[in-house]
Symmetry: none
Subunit: 214 residues, 4 copies
Amino acid sequence: MSAGRTPAPRAKSPDKRRVILDAAVRVFARQGFHACRVSDIADEAGVAYGLVYHYFGSKDEVLDTLFLERWNVMLALIREVDAEAIPVRDKLRAIASFIIDSYRHDPDLMKVIIVEVTRAANSFGQTHIGQIREAYELIGGIVTEAQAEGVFKAEIEPRFAAMAFYGAIEQLLTGWIFGLLPQGEEQFERAKWLVVETVCGGLEAGAGEQPILR
Amino acid sequence: MSAGRTPAPRAKSPDKRRVILDAAVRVFARQGFHACRVSDIADEAGVAYGLVYHYFGSKDEVLDTLFLERWNVMLALIREVDAEAIPVRDKLRAIASFIIDSYRHDPDLMKVIIVEVTRAANSFGQTHIGQIREAYELIGGIVTEAQAEGVFKAEIEPRFAAMAFYGAIEQLLTGWIFGLLPQGEEQFERAKWLVVETVCGGLEAGAGEQPILR
Amino acid sequence: MSAGRTPAPRAKSPDKRRVILDAAVRVFARQGFHACRVSDIADEAGVAYGLVYHYFGSKDEVLDTLFLERWNVMLALIREVDAEAIPVRDKLRAIASFIIDSYRHDPDLMKVIIVEVTRAANSFGQTHIGQIREAYELIGGIVTEAQAEGVFKAEIEPRFAAMAFYGAIEQLLTGWIFGLLPQGEEQFERAKWLVVETVCGGLEAGAGEQPILR
Amino acid sequence: MSAGRTPAPRAKSPDKRRVILDAAVRVFARQGFHACRVSDIADEAGVAYGLVYHYFGSKDEVLDTLFLERWNVMLALIREVDAEAIPVRDKLRAIASFIIDSYRHDPDLMKVIIVEVTRAANSFGQTHIGQIREAYELIGGIVTEAQAEGVFKAEIEPRFAAMAFYGAIEQLLTGWIFGLLPQGEEQFERAKWLVVETVCGGLEAGAGEQPILR
DNA sequence: GATGAATGAGATTTCATTCAT
DNA sequence: TATGAATGAAATCTCATTCAT
């Protein structure tokens, strides 16, 4: 999961802008966006107060940048997956994997995105509603397609199905973030399978099962 | 869905405390907890500034009260449902119904609970982690039981299943809150069925279906 | 040292006004005038909030009352002593005794008077400047007289001498109030002698001493 | 009486920190610590509101700084004097002189120290009890020594004597602060002699006198 | 007399943002 | 680029005082 870093405009110093961004992730994750001060970010980054404002127009812009950087990578991934000629299950599995891997690689960043943006209906969630909607719609499109092919039941509206799928994943991350679910390589891998199995095959015992060996 | 209101110790004035609480719900929902001032609540309630502090120790306490009042009703409902001798599907359906009905009856309150508490990992979510965990565990217990009875697949950990189920519901509410999903009586009723059908029967076409007529 | 209580207008209930006044002394002494709230006084007195305002026009008035009640008793004592035909030393000794006994009988009240009034140059000290000045002048008068009689040196201005004398006493109380000097019956008695001996006879060894046996 | 100012690390701007401190002295003296607002200090200093908080953590800290700055200079002076091989009278005279000169040079600062700290048993007096006690003990030590040398009477406890001495001085300042005693160069000089003469030689006419010519 | 809910002015403190260097 | 002093608009919370009962 290579981050969305621009190819370093000039190979000069340790790229203070990036340093600030990375520091912001840690600070936002630790204290929350509202509870932290711009100076906390500067301190964490080891730079002067005003430098944050040299690179970013405001505190908000720092979070905006962080969110978009990552969210766009996810949108690209979903589009890519969507274009492939593979079974739905594999598509959904790829998406779940990407999100869970994102958390594995940078739990702080995903925590910030989920806690401060994705559900923040009155602040950043509203600002980025377009990007967020895009993800849901892309997933919804995959469901629609699967229904057309007869692989998915037709009576479940794609939009609702997409929300249920994405919501299940986000809730797993929430469980990890809150320390309510056990974490670890094994857990992450298992979670990928579980969420797809649950949403596609259902929790009920019966013919729906696919004896996947992982 | 009888609210957690105490039977009004004295029927004198319009119970200012309740008036403030109800006003707070509207204000928190409209502007968000952080973006609103205590005076906004007082204004909305039509009372003087200081009265908010007469009844509540702080702005935080207002939200705490709101959350606990409702969340405890939900916990009671889940426990009640859990005790009944009915099929798992019915139990999960009852829970989904309760949450969705809660949103139908008071969308502002549910918005506040989800946006400001349930996912607010650095603030109120942390404060009420115990109550929140309780809900997940109760649902997890229902899954465990269903697995013991052979109704649910054994290979999906109950805790993960519970999170997926609850996450799917909360995401539907989030969709309504953000205006991404259509709302209305019909939609709410359908959503109850959808979420249970998705999680229990799975999205995939096949034997898992229960041709429920609703 | 009977307090300046009015002869109880009606012998009815436990005289709430007095109860409030006594409670205020304890609260002012414990927390300081500024740090305590009117409700603290009411709580300490075991009466309702508003009753304080039934008897007193304001929080200030409570302290004013407390101060005047006691200070006037002291002024009366000084005048009385002044009128007697006894040696200066005995007069000063009587005054020192009265103040120290006042502290012995009600340390809280004296603490309040000294801390909140006597040195509070910008608040109550200013309000009661007249009463306070009166005390200093009466003492100054005693010194003047002693000088006229040739008992006291003539080159020390009476006003300065009066301040030194009163200041020495008040500082002893301050030492007790701050817990810097040991307290107790014996200490109090000794203090009465010490302060007079110091100011009249001086600290220096020599002929000035009066081998008083106490 | 060189103030406790650090030698100005950088001579750049008019050292806003110092400007604020000096302004605070004037404001505290004029209105009293409790009756003034932080904005009054800022206004008096001609700086923005927030700058006070840039340099000081709180309103309290401003007063703490003011007190300690000056009090420590006094403690140093007393220690210095104590170490010299001069008569007690000269030692006490030096201390009285220092305090009175402090008032002469900056009456506002001494007013603040006496009114807001030295007698404020429930607030700042308590905070700085250690520093305050130190002064009394040093003076007490001087008395003890004088007694050992036979210069001072042995039957007056040093601690009490120290309090009487310091209290007499502080009361003179209080007299000036309240406008009860005449001020002026001549008065200040005379006061230095008076207080020492009173406490050492006593008010009584007789052998105790030292015909000092000043 | 007695109660305590209700009022609202005002104080401290915070902190995003600007800007001179 | 980089710094951090300086700004000042808010926001929370306190609490003396009022007043209907």
